[in-house]
Subunit: 304 residues, 2 copies
Amino acid sequence: MREATTISEYIASTAAAVEDALQSALPAGWDVPVKLREAMMYSLNAGGKRLRPMLVLAAAEAVRGERDAADAAMPIACAIEMVHTYSLVHDDLPAMDDDDFRRGKPTNHKVYGEALAILAGDALLTHAFYCIAQAAKNGRISAGTALAVTEDLARLAGAPGMVGGQAADILGEQGVTSLSELEYIHLHKTSDLIAFSLQAGGRAGGATDAQLEALARFGSNLGLAFQIQDDILDLVGDEAKLGKKTNSDVERLKVTYPYLIGLEASRAEVGRLTGDAKKALLSARLAKPERLLQIADYLMGRDH
Amino acid sequence: MREATTISEYIASTAAAVEDALQSALPAGWDVPVKLREAMMYSLNAGGKRLRPMLVLAAAEAVRGERDAADAAMPIACAIEMVHTYSLVHDDLPAMDDDDFRRGKPTNHKVYGEALAILAGDALLTHAFYCIAQAAKNGRISAGTALAVTEDLARLAGAPGMVGGQAADILGEQGVTSLSELEYIHLHKTSDLIAFSLQAGGRAGGATDAQLEALARFGSNLGLAFQIQDDILDLVGDEAKLGKKTNSDVERLKVTYPYLIGLEASRAEVGRLTGDAKKALLSARLAKPERLLQIADYLMGRDH
C-alpha cells in the first residue's frame, strides 16, 4: 500500500488494497461451481466502506508503528470482510429483512436466487476461517495469533456475538421496548465485529493484553456509535449518498435510538461514545494511534 | 467412554458419548438469545447416526492405539457434528430442499421459523471453529493440529467442498446427466466431510503424512459408498427404519446412482468402493485399524 496522508486518502487506498486482496482470497485453482464462485464474488465486490478490514489494518499499524504490520494483517482483514459480507447476504434474504437492494445494487438472492445466496453466505463464512489458518501456514502471522483470532472470530461472529444480535433483532420485531434490549442488539449485531477487527489487528501487530483490552473498548464504543449513527442516517440521511432507501426503519416499525430517545439525544450519544472510544484508545499507549483517532472522528461525521 | 466389544455396542456408546459432549459444547454462561440456543440444540439433539464424530474418534484411536486418543479428539468430533447439523438445517429450508421432516421430527424451520433456522445454522457452523480453537487452548490438541484441522475443515466444508457439492446439486436440478457430474456432487456433498473426519481424527492421534493420506482415501471411498447406499435406500428402504419418506428422489426427479446405472450395479459399486476403502486403510499400518474396518462393513450392510 502507498503511504496516504489525509484520512480520505487513507480510507480510499486501504479499501483499494483490501479489494485487491479479496480478488485472490478464493484460490483460482479450486474446483468450485462457477455460479457459486460468482455469487460469492458478487457480494464481496459490491463495495461498501470496507470499514472492518480497515480497522484490522489500522490497528496492526497503530500497535507496531510500521506499515509492514498492515501487510501481515491483510488475511485477517479479508476474513472479517467475508464474515461481514456473508452476514449481509443472509440478512437480506426474504425470510430475514427481505431487501431487494443494497448499496444501490440488487441483493445476492435477487441475482442468484435464494438457495445460492444461502450457500454463498455459508461459503464466505467458512472461507474466513481458511484465510486465517492459511496466514499462519504462510508465516504471515504466528500460530498463536491465528488460533486466538480464530477463537475471537468464532465467538464474536457466533451465537454470543453477531448472530445472537441478529436473532435478538428478529425476535424483537414483535416488540423491543427498552433501551437495554436495543443496546444488546446493536452491541452484538454491529459492535462485536468492530471490536473483533481492532483486537485482531492488534494481535497481528503484537499488542500486549492491556493494549488488546483498550482496543476492544475502543471498538465497542465506536461500534455502538456507528450503529446509532446508522439509525440517525436512516431517518435523516440522503438516499443518493446512502445507496439505499431512508425511513426503512420507520416503515418496518423498527425500534431505533432516535425512536427511543429522540434525534438530538441520539446525536449526543454518538458524540459521547466516540469520545469514550478515543479516551480508551489513548490509554493504550500505542506506537502510532493517530490513524485510529482520525477514523473515529471520520465515522462520527459521516453522511453515508 | 466404556470399552465396547461388538460394533453395535461401539456405535451406541460412541453416539452417547458424543451426545453427552454436545450438551456442554455451547458454554452455558454465554449470553445467547434463548430461542437461538434452543434452535441450535434442537437440531444438535435430533439424533442421527453420529457417523462423522464416530469416525473422528475411531481414527484417533486407530492411529494411536489407545482409547485416550478418542478423548483428546472429542472437541473435533463435536465440531464436525455441528457442521453436519448446520448443513442439514440449511438444506431443509424452503428455498433449498423444502423438507418438513427429518429423522421423524419436524425440521428446524418448521419449529422455529425460517429466519431463526438460517441463524441457528450460521451459529452452529461458526461454533465448530470455536470448539477446535478451544481444544488447543485447553491443551487437548496441539496448536499445529488445531490449525491444520481448521484449515482442512474450512476447505472441505466450504466452497470447494460440501457447500460446492450442495450448490452443484441445486444447480444440477435443472438436469444432471452424467455420472461424473453426479460423482462431483456426492464426493463433495458427502465424502468430503467423511474424509475430513478421518483425517482430523488421524491428526489428533498423531498420524504421519502417509497415514493421513491413507485415511483420506479410506474416507473418500467410504463416503461415496455411503452416499450411493443412501440413494439405494431412498429407492428400496423401509420408511419406518429410515425415519423419512422413501422415493423422495424419484418424486423430485433427482438423478441418483440407481437411476443412472441401475440398482444392481449401484449395489456392486458400494461393495467395490468399500473394498477399496479397506485396502487403502490397511496400507496405512495403523496401530489398531480393526474398528474402522468394522465400521466400513457395518455401513455397507446398513438398512437406515
